[in-house]
């Protein structure tokens, strides 16, 4: 607007201001309008693009990018077997399990804000959550039911994987990881059971850990335990509970296992699990059926150890 100013010179000060104001008004209104227009398609804003580093016209490339360039999505391949999207095959249980795990983390973290893992307060904190904390009851319920649901989901996931034989070469190891994850899931739920410090949890855990008394060699009631000098104060159960009975230490241990240790381990295994899914050739199927007639007979010497995979 340089030459604008030029003109201004000749005009009176007042007029000058007027024009400036005019100009400003015009400027703002026009620019504003067009930029508001721009907002109609947020995908085009710089902000948006700074987050998602690719355009959004629906080209194959972008569809691929939207998966690959997204830290959360990219453990998916850009493309999947067309039938792998069929629910009747996948049941989606693995995904649901993972989703539930995340839900549990959210709700769990929130619950931790009001929970003290101490004999005096644990139970009262639950009352507090139920009666005094807004949405506390809802959160607690969600946390509990999500935990139950997760276990069911895990089992069904395993069930599905077995029925589709998806543990077979080359996925043997990932199946093992899966089994471990299932165990961890159940342990997570079990450790959480004690935390409200009510009769239900207390006795469930008492019954549960009493089995550990009978660990062969390591439990003070297990085979050869006593012979190895196991007592209620040095056996494996003691290690679990931090005491000979379910008490303050047990509560604290359960808390730490439940909130930190197991989730940590589980997430590591999960990472491994997902990574392997990709590396072992993505989701297992549905694969084209094989025919009995196509089985090749074994060649070469039969090692007595299990055969390394790939030999066929």
């Amino acid at each position: 607007m340089a030459e604008d100013n030029g003109e201004q010179k000749r005009k009176g000060l007042l007029g000058k201001f007027k024009d400036d104001a005019e100009g400003l008004k015009k400027y703002v209104s026009e620019k504003g309008k067009e930029q508001l227009e721009g907002l109609k398609e947020p995908e085009k804003t710089q902000l948006y693009r700074s987050i998602f580093r690719f355009k959004h016209d629906e080209t194959a490339r972008n569809r691929a990018l939207s998966v690959l360039s997204n830290v959360f999505f990219h453990l998916h391949p850009a493309k999947v077997n067309r039938d792998a999207t069929k629910y009747s095959y996948t049941w989606g249980m693995g995904g649901i399990t993972f989703y539930l795990f995340i839900v549990l983390t959210f709700t769990g973290v929130l619950l931790m804000y009001y929970y003290h893992p101490s004999k005096v307060q644990a139970f009262r904190d639950i009352l507090y959550l139920e009666n005094d904390v807004p949405f506390g009851k809802l959160l607690r319920n969600m946390h509990r039911w999500a935990a139950h649901l997760m276990i069911i989901a895990v089992w069904l996931h395993m069930f599905r994987v077995f029925l589709t034989g998806s543990y077979k070469k080359p996925r043997e190891f990932n199946w093992c990881v899966g089994v471990l994850l299932m165990v961890l899931t159940m342990l997570l739920s079990f450790t959480g059971y004690l935390l409200p410090d009510d009769q239900l949890g207390f006795w469930a855990v008492t019954v549960g850990t009493n089995m550990a008394r009978a660990t062969p060699l390591l439990g003070h009631e297990g085979p050869f335990g006593p012979q190895l000098g196991m007592t209620p104060y040095n056996d494996v159960r003691f290690a679990l509970l931090g005491g000979s009975i379910v008490d303050a230490n047990a509560l604290l241990r359960a808390y730490i296992w439940h909130c930190i240790a197991i989730p940590l381990i589980a997430s590591i295994f999960m990472a491994l699990h997902f990574w392997r899914v990709r590396k072992d050739g993505g989701i297992s199927g549905p694969a084209p059926v094989m025919l009995e007639s196509e089985i090749k007979d074994e060649k070469g010497p039969r090692p007595v150890i299990m055969k390394p995979s790939g030999m066929q």
Binding site: R82, T85, Q121, D132, F135, D198, Q199
Partner: protein, 1079 residues
């Protein structure tokens, strides 16, 4: 390439619809969760809305009424007058008042004026002084220069625009000192001014107070304006949670019951909130037009007992500690009241509300405001529950006795060892090789000797303790050792089978016994009785006179007589209607003469009755009583009394005979008893003994060989907090859980699988949990007998009794509150707490009024109506203030106050009714005396005020007053002269000296009606004149000049009065002599 036949089922299908639907569902759930958070879980919002409107209407009505009332009062002459006075006072005070106001204002102005200057000056000087202080003394020069600076600063002047009142000001130059002085002076000035102003206004204040009091008296409750404010408040009432946050300042985080307690009860029970309904107001459902029937449609009543809040402030106690329930849950009535499976402290039901008191008041026998609970406690005691079920704090003398005895025995064995040890040591000392070993041994021997003498001291104490305990320990039931002397043989089995039909009001529970069990037990009871002690026959007496005695001596304040509707008398002791059918006349005579008399003393150490032979062995006369209570064999304390509550009325032998004769006539003439030959079968007896032990008869009765049997029942001290799993509902567990009653009906309060349900079922029918069980062997059955809770009138189980006991049990929990909440007072209240246990134990309240508005059994008896009221026993509301504790001790120990002539009352021998001899244990006497003193808030120990002796003039004047026709003292007061005392209705003055407390006596003579309304002692003998009491009657001229206090003079005279002085006066007394004037 060929065209695909159809679109790709995967890439070709749009999911937008299902996505839309599912996300929509998502939104629904969120909406739902919001709804439940803000409404679903908040039923109280509705209540509050409802309440606000109803309450406003109510207040509207109130305001109208109140305004009318106020108008009436304001227009009343009294009010006008008071108002006028007030105005006048204000008028007169006004000028001075204003003057002061002006000067105070000025002082304030001046202070504010100089404050800034003063503050900066003070700050500066303070700082410089510090500078001085930090320079070491040694460095004189520097210090001095610094000092100079200080002086400089002090000298420095500030300009202050100093107000001089009515707007004028002047500029003042003020240095530090002036400012300082000015500042403090002004403060002082203001103080004095304010004081003076108050002085000036005092008249106004007084007038104001008068007015206020008048208004308060005429218009109780909140004023119309106050109500209006309330109403306005309600019109803008905010629907919000009301909660009491019981977390006293300075308390730890976890406070009541280990946690900061929050009670939200008021969110629904909104009228309980003092901010909504002021404590000076009460609100009932009726007020709001609600019905009681619909119980929790509108929980809008204010707390029925507002007084309680004076001692139990809400902010300290909240609601749930007393009432139970889950104070914080608000999502439903059920949860808030804690009436769901997993809440351990459910709300007490209406009929058991007072159970909560027991939490903290467990050591009370009588708790104010808790009638139901009190009834429960006393039932627990009188119905003999305590006989089987231990309850800490209740009648544990026996336990203490046993421990004492064990201590004694232990000490004795030690002593015995010493007695062997000492000679041995001495002997060794003699044969000792060298001296210092010998010395050592001797020294040891001597020390042991001293030790054993110490032990003797201990033993003596313990002995006296045990004798005292033995006197205190009573049994609920009679001593069965004397059954052979006392009872008719055939009657026993009948009694065992139909306890409650024979005597509907008996304390004895009905046992469930098979016929053979009855025979065995009866046989054992009969055969364990003391044999061979024959009572020598007594001639029958005069039944008519006996009847009079029974009615007049006061038997009926404990015993009742007559059946069904014709019953009269108290229910504390047995009903005597059919006593004639069972008793043996001679025994009854002895019993009436002195119930505590025992045939044979019992030695708890040898565990046997001591027979005359034992005494003979030691060449001792066979004599045992409270003064001869040592065992001839081992010197230990004997049980020399019957362990019965019943006291001795000190009747003469004739009277006893007459009474007994009368009582023996109390029987059903048509009653027949089948012969019971088996009673003498020793085999049966042997079996019976086991049964008697099994059923715990020895808990209530004294039985040969079973004296030390413990209580067979479970201890109930903490029964209320017993986990439900430990209460065996047997076959009814499921029904209880599902709310089906034993009679098959559905329980009105739903499931009854809780302590309350258990207790109620058990009390209504102790056998209930045996139903439907297969227990052929009676020994396997539940042992608990049916307590007698039947109402003699309706012949139904008295629901109130059951509720009372259940309340008591529900309240018996392990303490859930911090100890500082427990009611264990250290001051006088403790004495009161203790005393009630004894007062109720001996049923003193059957005859005496002790509590302010407590009724006695006696005052309802037909013989004490109308003019006979004068014959009632004395009212003891002010006993502590009235009598000298020393005297009271003596009196309680022996109410006849005489060792020789005991057939009378010590103090009021003009009364027919007799203060009996309870032969209380010292311990009990002590407690009682303290109790009375505490009741009338007297200091302990009592130190009599010193009163100067009378001068001769005073004496003569006193005599004059004493015999003055206007005060015919001796007309009513006894003198000891039988002729005169026939008509006496007041105690003898000769007792006054040692009996009365002077201050009380003075209050008494001046205004007796104030101390005991309706007393026959005339009021108004003295009138107030200035600061002294003056005799109202005509005063002989020579004493007109007497300046002292007449009442005080009179009292001092009385305190010194002696029998012959009295006799002397009697002659002169106008009212004296055998015939009162007016005849």
């Amino acid at each position: 390439m060929p065209e695909p036949s159809g679109p790709d089922p995967i890439t070709g299908k749009s999911w937008s619809t299902i996505m839309l639907v599912s996300t929509f569902l998502l939104m629904l759930t969120v909406a739902w969760s919001l709804w439940s958070e803000f409404f679903g879980l908040r039923p109280w919002r509705a209540y509050q809305r409802d309440f606000a409107s109803a309450y406003q209407d109510f207040l509207g009505k109130q305001i109208a009424a109140q305004t009318k009332a106020e108008a009436a009062v304001y227009s009343s002459p009294e009010y006008k007058k008071l108002k006028a006075d007030l105005d006048a006072a204000q008028q007169s005070a006004k000028p001075k008042d204003d003057e002061f106001a002006r000067r105070i204002a000025l002082a304030d102005l001046q202070r504010t004026a100089i404050t800034p200057a003063f503050q900066s000056a003070r700050g500066q000087v303070g700082a410089l002084i510090y500078q001085v202080e930090i320079i070491p003394e040694s460095n004189k020069s520097a210090r001095d220069s610094a000092k100079k600076d200080v002086d400089g600063a002090k000298a420095e002047t500030y300009e202050v625009e100093y107000p001089l009142g009515d707007g004028k000001t002047e500029i003042r130059k003020m240095n530090y000192d002036q400012l300082n002085a000015g500042f403090t002076d002004l403060m002082a000035l203001k103080a004095s001014l304010v004081a003076q102003q108050a002085e000036v206004d005092s008249s106004v204040k007084i007038a104001q107070i008068k007015l206020n009091e008048f208004v308060k008296e005429k218009l109780p409750g909140p004023s119309a304006a106050g109500l209006q404010n309330l109403r306005n408040a309600m019109s803008t009432f905010k629907i919000d949670m009301h909660q009491i946050n019981v977390n006293p300042p300075g308390a730890m985080l976890n406070y009541v019951g280990g946690i900061g307690l929050v009670d939200r009860c008021q969110s629904c029970h909104i009228a309980m909130d003092p901010l909504v309904v002021p404590v000076t107001m009460t609100l009932t459902k009726a007020d709001l037009g609600r019905t009681m029937a619909a119980s929790h449609d509108a929980p809008f009543t204010s707390h029925p007992d507002q007084d309680l809040f004076n001692w139990h402030p809400l902010e300290k106690f909240g609601c749930s500690p007393c009432h139970g329930g889950n104070g914080r849950a608000l999502d439903s009535a059920e949860r808030g009241h804690g009436r769901y499976e997993h809440w351990l402290w459910p709300l007490n039901y209406r009929e058991n509300f007072t159970a909560g008191c027991q939490n903290c008041h467990a050591s009370d026998m009588v708790t104010e405001h808790a009638e139901v609970l009190n009834r429960g406690r006393s039932l627990y005691r009188t119905r003999g529950c305590i006989g089987c079920h231990k309850y800490s704090g209740f009648d544990d003398e026996n336990e203490r006795l046993t421990t004492t005895r064990q201590q004694i025995m232990q000490l004795e064995s030690t002593k015995h060892d010493y007695s062997i040890e000492i000679p041995r040591l001495n002997h060794q000392a003699d044969i000792a090789p060298d001296n210092d070993t010998a010395h050592k041994l001797n020294a040891r021997a001597t020390s042991l000797t001293i030790e054993s003498s110490k032990i003797d001291a201990q033993l003596q104490t313990l002995e006296s303790v045990s004798s005292s305990l033995m006197r205190e320990s009573k049994r609920v039931g009679p001593d069965l050792k004397e059954v052979r002397m006392k009872l008719r043989k055939e009657w026993i089995p009948v009694w065992l089978t139909q306890t409650h039909t024979f005597r509907p009001t008996t304390k004895m529970p009905q046992f469930r016994l098979e016929q053979d069990e009855v025979q065995k037990i009866a046989a054992f009871i009969w055969q364990q009785g003391i044999a061979g002690q024959k009572l020598n026959p007594v001639a029958p007496g005069n039944a008519g006179h006996g009847k009079e005695l029974v009615e007049s001596r006061g038997c009926l304040s404990c015993h009742s007589i007559g059946e069904d509707s014709k019953t009269i008398g108290g229910d504390f002791a047995a009903n005597l209607s059919r006593i004639g059918e069972k008793e043996n006349y001679e025994y009854l005579v002895r019993w009436v003469h002195n119930p505590r008399e025992r045939t044979l003393p019992y030695c708890p150490f040898e565990k046997k009755d001591i027979t005359p032979e034992d005494y003979k062995k030691h060449r001792l006369p066979f004599q045992f009583d409270l003064d001869h209570s040592r065992c001839p064999n081992d010197g230990h304390q004997l049980e020399v009394q019957q362990p019965t509550i019943m006291p001795s009325l000190r009747l003469s032998d004739e009277d006893s005979r007459d009474v007994a004769t009368y009582l023996m006539a109390q029987k059903h003439t048509n009653a027949t008893y089948p012969p019971a030959p088996y009673m003498d079968d020793p085999k049966l007896a042997a079996a019976g003994r086991a049964l008697v032990q099994h059923y715990g008869c020895a808990g209530c009765h004294e039985i040969t060989g079973l004296e030390d049997e413990g209580r067979i029942g479970t201890e109930l001290t903490n029964e209320g907090s017993k986990p439900i799993e430990r209460l065996d509902f047997a076959r009814y567990t499921e029904d209880a859980k599902r709310g089906m009653l034993i009679n098959g009906k559905t329980s009105p309060r739903g499931p009854w699988y809780d302590s309350k349900g258990f207790f109620e079922a058990k009390l209504n029918d102790p056998a209930v949990f045996d139903h439907a069980k297969f227990k052929p062997d009676p020994m396997d059955r539940l042992r608990m007998p049916a307590p007698n809770l039947t109402d003699p009138k309706t012949h139904q189980i008295d629901k109130n009794d059951v509720d009372a006991l259940v309340t008591f049990l529900l309240g018996s929990v392990d303490p859930q509150l911090p100890t500082e909440y427990m009611y264990r007072p250290a001051d006088r209240r403790h004495a009161i707490q203790e005393g009630w246990w004894i007062v109720t134990k001996y049923n003193c309240i059957g005859c005496h009024q002790i509590g302010i508005d407590q009724k006695t059994t006696m005052q309802d008896l037909p013989f004490y109506q109308a003019e006979n009221k004068a014959n009632l026993p004395p009212v003891l509301t002010s006993e502590g203030a009235r009598v000298n504790p020393e005297w009271l001790k003596r009196f309680l120990a022996n109410p006849s106050l005489s060792t020789t002539d005991t057939n009378k009352n010590g103090v009021r021998n003009y009364l027919q009714v007799r203060m009996p001899t309870f032969s209380l244990a010292d311990n009990e006497i002590r407690k009682l005396v303290l109790f009375f003193e505490a009741l009338s808030s007297q200091e302990e120990p009592y130190i009599a005020p010193k009163s100067e002796s009378l001068t001769n003039t005073e004496t003569t004047f006193a005599r004059a007053l004493f015999t003055n026709p206007a005060a015919p003292c001796l007309k009513c007061h006894a003198t000891g002269d039988p002729a005169h005392d026939k008509n006496a209705t007041a105690p003898n003055f000769t007792l006054a000296a040692e009996r009365l407390r002077e201050p009380w006596a003075e209050r008494w003579v001046t205004d007796p009606a104030k101390i005991i309304p309706g007393t026959s002692m005339p009021s108004g003998l003295f009138r107030r004149e200035g600061d002294r009491w003056v005799f109202t009657g005509a005063i002989p001229s020579e004493f007109r000049s007497y300046a002292g206090d007449h009442a005080n003079l009179m009292v001092r005279y009385l305190m010194g009065i002696t029998p012959d002085e009295q006799r002397r006066l009697q002659g002169r007394s106008s009212g004296g002599g055998a015939s009162p004037p007016g005849k």
